[in-house]
Structures are given as structure tokens and as C-alpha cells.
């Protein structure tokens, strides 16, 4: 064997362990989970008897079994959580990045403060915010409610993550309920607290990548600072917004630790998420095939977002 060929083989051999591990632990295991989701396995002992899509039908059935009811709530919760979380993170993240880009004094200090939650565990965040938003009782107010009481804003007190209600409207005699659990609001605040800094860092990196000459030229042409942002800088930040939406979106689609440690499922599953349902039904209830089915639904939701993004990133890399 020639030296060059030998080296080519050596290169492949060096990376082979990783390829094998990923092949087994990612793709093999996903296949295994898929098999479990199509099986009868409902107990500690594995049982791979084929039942087709029964486990999925149970999650999506119209008859309204307990599992289907819970999973429907989970999907609505995921949808509203994701939308609000993305809007808040991108909105405030972009705002903070633009503010920090104004050559402010102490920029480093502000940046450090906005970004430090990223260094914390979602679990710690959940524990702290659980304490902050705990409503307490009428006689023993806690958390934010105690603060509101202190400053005389008692009208704003409510049950926070213990409130199982959903907004209702009456339009023309018919009552409309929006399937959004208000108990999610404190959880969204906690999640945004953790991830806004990350979004800001992404935008800031983008802003720093825009050459000063471009702004300078626009100023010379008489453009105001605001219109420079609106017409030149914001359009240039669009790829970053896409990245931010993908990264934050896939985090929120599979969110587990934060919600599990902050509120758990909540009253009437008000803060339940597919990730929590999967974990509890699998490892607490031993309903393995049901847990597998939930996780496959989660995987499909995320693949729908991530695979086009990965392909797009790879294409862009080729062009460079």
C-alpha cells in the first residue's frame, strides 16, 4: 500500500469510532425508539409486539382519552410558548444589541449582565423563578405578589403559574376560549430571561460585522440614524434572525428541564409540555411505547425545522 493510501486509511480509522458511536447512539437509537413506538411495550419488561400506529392514534384520537387530552394541551402549550418566547427573545435581544451598539460607556458590564443567565442551568433558573413567582396565600403573600402588595399594586396580583385558566371572550353571544394557559406566562418570562442575552450576543456579533464605512456613507448621504437602521442594518441582520429563530425554536420545542423544575405539569396540565409527558409516562408510569411515540412526535417537529436549516447552512458554505 502506498504511503498516501495508508494515510488516507489512517485518517478514516481515526474518525471511525465517532462515526460508529453517532450511528448507534443517534440513528440506531432513533430507529429503536421508532420500533418501541409501534409496539405494545407497556411495563418494565420490553414487549415489541407490533401494534402499528396505535400509540400515535391514542395521542391524537378524537374520542378524548386522558392521553389525548393531555397531549392536545401539550401541543397548544408548545405552540403558544414557542411563539411568545421567540417574539420576546428576538425583540428584546435585538433592542439590547442595538442599544449596546451605540458606543455606550460600560458596554462590557451591560453585556456581561445580560448574558450571564446563559451560563446557568435551566434547572437553577427554574428553581429561582419558582420561588419568585410562587403566589402564596391571601394571608401569606409570596414572591412577586408580596412585592406588588408592598408597592400598593394589589390589583395586579394573581395566581401566576398556579392559575389554570385560559382567556375567554364572548363575541355575539358565543363564548370563545383561546387555548393558551396563562400559567405559562411566568415560565416564558423565566425562559426569556435565560435566552435573551444569547439572542443579543448573536445580533451584536452581526452588528459588529457590518463595516462602519457603510453607515458612514449613509450618514454622508444625509440619512438619519433611525433610517440607517431601518433601511440598511436591519435587512443585513436577516440571516441572524433566521439562525436565532431556529436555535431558540428548537430549544422551545423540546423544552423540559426549565418547566419540569419550575412548575412541573401545573394545575390541569396548564404548563405541561411533550417533554414532561414523555418523561413521566416513560420513567414514572412505565408506559414505554407511549413515551416513545411522544418522543417521535417531538423529533418530527424538530426535524421539520432543523433539517431545512442544516441544508441551507451547508449550501451557503459551498458558495463561500
Amino acid at each position: 500500500m502506498s504511503e498516501a493510501r495508508r494515510e488516507r486509511w489512517l485518517a478514516f480509522l481515526l474518525i471511525l469510532p465517532s462515526i460508529v458511536l453517532i450511528a448507534i447512539f443517534v440513528y440506531g437509537f432513533i430507529g429503536w425508539t421508532t420500533a418501541a413506538s409501534l409496539s405494545k411495550w407497556d411495563g418494565v419488561v420490553p414487549d415489541y409486539t407490533w401494534v402499528g400506529l396505535d400509540n400515535f392514534k391514542q395521542l391524537f384520537s378524537q374520542e378524548g382519552g386522558v392521553a389525548a387530552q393531555r397531549f392536545t394541551i401539550d401541543l397548544w402549550n408548545t405552540l403558544f410558548f414557542t411563539i411568545l418566547f421567540l417574539v420576546i427573545c428576538v425583540g428584546i435581544g435585538l433592542l439590547l444589541a442595538i442599544l449596546l451598539d451605540q458606543k455606550v460607556k460600560g458596554e462590557g458590564v451591560f453585556r456581561t449582565i445580560y448574558l450571564f443567565p446563559m451560563a446557568l442551568s435551566f434547572v437553577f433558573t427554574g428553581v429561582i423563578w419558582q420561588w419568585i413567582f410562587a403566589p402564596g396565600t391571601e394571608t401569606r403573600l409570596r414572591g412577586v405578589n408580596a412585592l406588588l402588595n408592598m408597592v400598593g399594586l394589589d390589583a395586579l396580583r394573581w395566581g401566576w403559574y398556579t392559575d389554570p385558566s385560559m382567556p375567554q371572550f364572548t363575541i355575539g353571544g358565543t363564548q370563545i376560549t383561546i387555548p393558551f394557559h396563562v400559567a405559562l406566562i411566568p415560565v416564558i418570562i423565566a425562559a426569556a430571561w435565560q435566552m435573551i442575552g444569547y439572542t443579543m450576543a448573536m445580533y451584536l456579533a452581526g452588528l459588529r460585522g457590518i463595516p462602519e464605512e457603510i453607515r458612514e456613507a449613509a450618514r454622508v448621504d444625509g440619512a438619519s440614524e433611525i433610517s440607517i437602521y431601518r433601511r440598511i442594518i436591519l435587512p443585513m441582520l436577516q440571516p441572524i434572525t433566521l439562525s436565532a429563530l431556529i436555535v431558540l425554536g428548537h430549544i422551545s420545542l423540546k423544552i423540559f428541564d426549565l418547566v419540569y423544575s419550575m412548575t412541573g405539569s401545573g394545575p390541569g396540565f396548564a404548563t405541561d409540555m411533550p417533554g414532561i409527558f414523555m418523561f413521566e409516562t416513560t420513567f414514572r408510569g412505565n408506559h414505554y411505547s407511549q413515551g416513545a411515540a411522544i418522543s417521535i412526535v417531538m423529533l418530527l417537529m424538530i426535524a421539520l425545522v432543523i433539517i431545512p436549516y442544516l441544508i441551507y447552512s451547508f449550501r451557503r458554505e459551498v458558495e463561500l
Partner: protein, 303 residues
Amino acid sequence: MTAQPVAAQNEARPQYRAARRRRLDPSRIAIYILLFLFAVIFLIPVYVLVISSLKSFNEVQDLSRMWLPPQDAYFKTFSEAWSGIPEQGLRGLGPNLLNSIKLTVPATILSAMLGSINGYILSKWKFRGSRTIFFLMLFGMFIPYQSVLIPLTQTLGRIGLGGTLWGLILVHVVYGIPITTLIFRNYYAEVPTDLIEAARIDGAGLLGVYRKVLFPLSLPGFVVVIIWQFTNIWNEFLFAVSILQRPEMQPITVALRNLSGSQIKEWNIVMAGTLIAAVPTLLIYIILGRYFIRGLLAGSVKG
């Protein structure tokens, strides 16, 4: 100004900036007020965390004082959080913190080494199909880990690693492959091919090039990857709670969540425990923030 040569323009810029800074118009005051307000909001949880962990049990029970600083700083909470209060059936978090260290340090080192090798091959020794392999690896970074959890616990049990720290270390090394490979691949891609050619003319082979050229240049890459993996593994919860059932084996994230999820009234101890558990990653962030951000952005922006 447009007529000036570029060099002159660049020279003029600092003065131009200085002139803008001196002007304290209302819009700049508004910027500072906004930045300051957001900073205060971001620090509220830290404030609550610190004041609550410095309170005695009696004081933390007094909810009317929840937002007020402690009357007397009570440092014993930290030692109670570390070693527990056996007479009240409160387990200490110290052993769990040690578990976190025993888990995080080896897993971080192993996955950094693996990532460095993979990144080297995938950036400098591309072979047919290496792009596809990289693509398939990267997808593993985004999957919800719930979708591998059942086979994972089954397999670890079967190979005798169920419920052990080594099992969890293996898991973190494996699922760390995509991100560590990505960071190192992008890092090594910046190393000029000339350097490698020169080493090869001197007779260095595949391993020689790595040892003589790439590895000595790798320190910043290793810092980014080690910080990233350390933070992630230290903070991780789902794998740990699914794999480690015995309380004395669990890392700090699981122990803390179990403590706060129980009917505990000693919130000063929960808060002190959280503070202790957050210190390692916070310190890294404050000291090496630059590298932390680089790792953060590597996960989203492909270079």
C-alpha cells in the same frame, strides 16, 4: 469627506466619535436609562438568590421580608446546604456537587480530545463522503434527547453501566461529538494549508502534522470547547435524571430539583445550594467570557 482618501477618513473617525460622545442629548440619556433598567431586571433573580441564601430559616419564613435584605447575614445556610441537617432528614448537597465534578471533568476532557481529532480529519483530510458524515453528525446536536432515551437506558443497563457515573460520562462524550467536532473543524479550517504543506515536506505524516502544527495552535480551540462542554455537562438534567436513580449518585442539578420539588420549607437552603452550584460556571463565564461567547455562537452560526 467623501473625497478624502480612505486612510484620512479612518484617521478622522475617532475624533468624530468623540464629538458624538460628548453631546449628551436626550436620546443618549434614554439609551442609558433603558440599558440600566434592563440590567436591574436581569439582576432581580440574583438579588433574590443572594439575600434568601443569607437568611436564617426563621427569617426566610417571614414572607413579608422576602424582598428585603437579611437583618443579619446568616452564613451558616451554606454549610447547612453542603452537609444537610440530618436531624431534620435534610440531605446535604455536598456529595452531589462532588458527583458533578467527577462527571463533568472526565467527560469534558474526553469529548474535547475526540472533537479535536474529528475536527482535524474533517477539515484537513477530507475524504469522499466526509461532508455527508459531518452533516449526519450535526443533526445529532439538535435532536430532542427524549427520542434516544429509552434505548439509551436499556443499553447502559445491558452493558453494566446503568445507574453509574461512567455511563453518564459515556453519554455526554457521545452526544458531545457533534458540537466539539463542529467547533474544532471550523477552528482548524482557518489554519493555512501552507503550514501543513511545509510540515509534510519536512516528512511529517498525518499524526506528525497534527502533533507539530495543529495541536500547538489548538489552545484557543480547546478553551472554547472545554468551556462549552463543561458548562453544558455541569448544567445538564435530562440524561442525569433518567440514568441515575440513586440520590447519592446524582449530580447537583438533579439533587437540587428534587429538593425544590419536595415539600421543603427551608428555601434559604435551596437558594444557598443553587448559588453554590451556579458558582463554577458563573466564574468561568466571568473570567473567560470571550471564549464562552465564541462557543455559544459556534452552535448557531456555521462558518
